[in-house]
Symmetry: C3
Subunit: 315 residues, 3 copies
């Protein structure tokens, strides 16, 4: 950045900063589009003003850390320092309790940007993106802190359980409408049909191809989890669907040079399908710690396919 | 590959494919020899026709994924896309239940080849082989799926246990003959003395040096586990021996440039010895999840020695 | 090394060997100073002659493995093959029981040097030091072995617990003097105020800047753990402090090119602060296995900041 003075420069810097911050929100869906980011911010805010503020502050904090820390401008502009902070801020605000949980959420958001930088460095030689792995690590570790430090308190949702005494219960009502729209909402921890509909619209705004694939990913994961005998209470809350949406977007479009339909669809559906058993196994692994799987199934599925593609280029 | 037409080309391709598939079986023992592979296939089939078919289909699936995915021909020819699939197919066929468990086994075999590709990419800069790590990860994750998806059911063998209530019981009969031959059979999940004898012969066929070292590795692990006070029921089932055989072959011969005797023997016996405490600790780590250690002790032991050798060349 | 004969060469080799061995002790505190190392050896020996002997033998074993294995002379000279062995030897000697636990401790020390070499190779492309990670892995795995092999027995200190039945109890007396000096002692598993005072002096001997930062790190971690509501019994035993000391030294001085005060202090205090929630979460993760956190919080905190600095150079 050359250093100039005066208001035009200030205005330009502000525009750069706002664009980067909004892209920090859209990048949660792997989308590089400030308008989509702003639209998502509105959807979150209309569901909960508190969550909206956390989202806005988190993306600002992540982006600022990128800028003040001296990251290369391109990564910052694409929102790559914002999205892990957004997810961490929202997750910690929702899973933690007590009067100061919002401070923990925002500190977590800051830390997520720092860990994102470290992981970018570590994974650079592999040519594989870090995705939302920093968010997951910071969130898991922060939730575990609560068992040892009084200032951290969990909501009653998260309960460690013994795998030896676990019984699978797949009964529960079937509601395909909720299933269809709760998945994409779960990415931002929203639980309303209308929020899901609007989020799909936000994706279509960024590109109709993205929208179609998002629907295909959701469908793949929903049907697969139903057909393989998953718990209805989870499936129709969208908890088996959201990873499928993210995985198909990453594998088929965002990190794929092939602009055709067949290879993207096949590898994307494979990635979306894989998130279903991965959700099942990761949830099992985390049971004794009472932790949520978050977007880990999407991350593992995407890393496997993107990594394999370097050796199997036709995948 | 140049493209030609006609039957000679077809015949050559078929020969290439069959060789690669058989080497996919021999590579389970780190051996690059199609005849040994075919011999092992016969041994497995004579123990169980079902397992034989799974083995054959798994190596074919893995090899096909390498070819169709566009991997470099040399890796495919050496059977490097087959062996993780073979192990995964057999393990899932044995540890899972229900009418469709063979489908899960074959899908697991396919996935193992894809994960193998991803891990080859990730470990290439280190110059360290992936060994059977992809098999282990796919198998562990698939077994864990069963706690959440009804289509996956475990055999009654695998039971999660609480470490706090674990009591070590080393009593049990001592049977050195079984101990001597069950170990190598365990690599292919076979539990018969005759299968063990024949597998040793298959190794000697590929090279008498390989055979001698295999015996040394088995002996090292057997004696160390007995002397350190392991459970007799495990030791004489060969469950402390098979990792020692694999580790000595990898460290002393397959991934070793030194063709002499002293350095290979010393580092190989160290590697075989290390698999004994590693088997103990990995089994403990997996206890709450009821998962088997599989070949993980061999992998960790081999990775440590091969990695250390890059910095300590005389090891 | 040129090969010459005669006593001058022998004397020089002995001097090189002794310096490297003493630096192996000082490197536990990230300090490259043989006198400090010798001073620490005296402090340990004056607390327990048994521990002093273990410390001396462990650093000799680690250094010898570096030399005999053929490592580059510079790493050996700096004591980089000794410090993981020192820590492993002491930890295993203290956490294990039985007549031969000292043999296990020394074998663990040897293995730590080998794993250190492997990890140096693996982390070289990242430009991030392995720190004491090899010590932690060897110690954790060795402690877990005791559940399966009779020759390994744990002291009664380490008990696996169920997280679902865990209750946080932060009551206990407040003793800031013990808190202030027990932390640095904990690094060497010493529990005496006087040992802590002397260890601070050993650090000041190597550089007054190191000493001042060590005090700052201790203070940061102590106050943060008290303020966030940690268990008094742990805080005033120094169990929340020692990772903060190591983290600030690593991040602010040893692996930092900036010789000023502001950036080192800020990033160092951040690193020291981070060890507090990390201690809490790692202890929680390890609860079902009854394992101690050791220096893992320091390692993770330091890796995050050093890794992030490669992308955020102003951190």
């Amino acid at each position: 950045m050359q250093k100039t003075t005066g208001r035009p420069q200030l205005k330009e810097n502000l525009k750069f900063f706002l664009t980067a911050s909004m892209k920090g929100i859209s990048q949660v869906l792997l989308i590089d589009n400030a308008v989509t980011g702003f639209f998502i911010l509105l959807i979150i805010t209309s569901t909960s003003i508190f969550l909206g503020i956390i989202t806005l502050l988190s993306t600002i904090i992540g982006t600022l850390i990128g800028i003040v820390g001296g990251a290369d401008k391109e990564s910052v502009t694409q929102g790559l320092f914002g999205f892990n902070s957004v997810l961490t801020g929202i997750a910690l605000a929702l899973f933690m309790n007590g009067p100061y949980h919002w401070i923990i959420a925002l500190l977590g958001a800051a830390l997520a940007a720092i860990l994102a930088a470290a992981m970018m460095h570590a994974m650079k030689p592999l040519g594989i993106p870090v995705l939302s792995a920093p968010f997951i690590l910071i969130t898991w570790f922060t939730l575990l802190v609560s068992y040892r430090l009084k200032a951290f308190t969990l909501t009653s949702e998260l309960v460690p359980q013994d795998l030896a005494r676990w019984k699978l219960d797949t009964t529960g009502k079937v509601d395909w409408t909720e299933g269809a729209f709760y998945g994409i909402g779960q990415i931002f921890f929203l639980h309303e049909t209308i929020a899901g509909v609007l989020l799909f619209l936000a994706v279509f705004w960024a590109g109709w191809r993205l929208g179609i694939f998002a629907i295909m990913g959701n469908l793949t994961a929903l049907l697969a989890s139903y057909w393989l005998g998953g718990e209805h209470t989870l499936i129709f809350m969208g908890l088996y669907g959201y990873n499928g949406i993210l995985a198909i977007l990453a594998v088929a479009i965002v990190f794929n040079d092939n602009k055709g339909w067949i290879q993207p669809l096949l590898s994307g559906i494979l990635a979306a399908f894989l998130t279903v058993p991965l959700t099942a196994s990761i949830t099992t692994l985390l049971l004794p710690y009472g932790l949520p799987a978050l977007t880990m199934p999407f991350i593992l599925s995407t890393w496997i396919i993107l990594g394999a593609r370097k050796v199997l280029p036709k995948l």
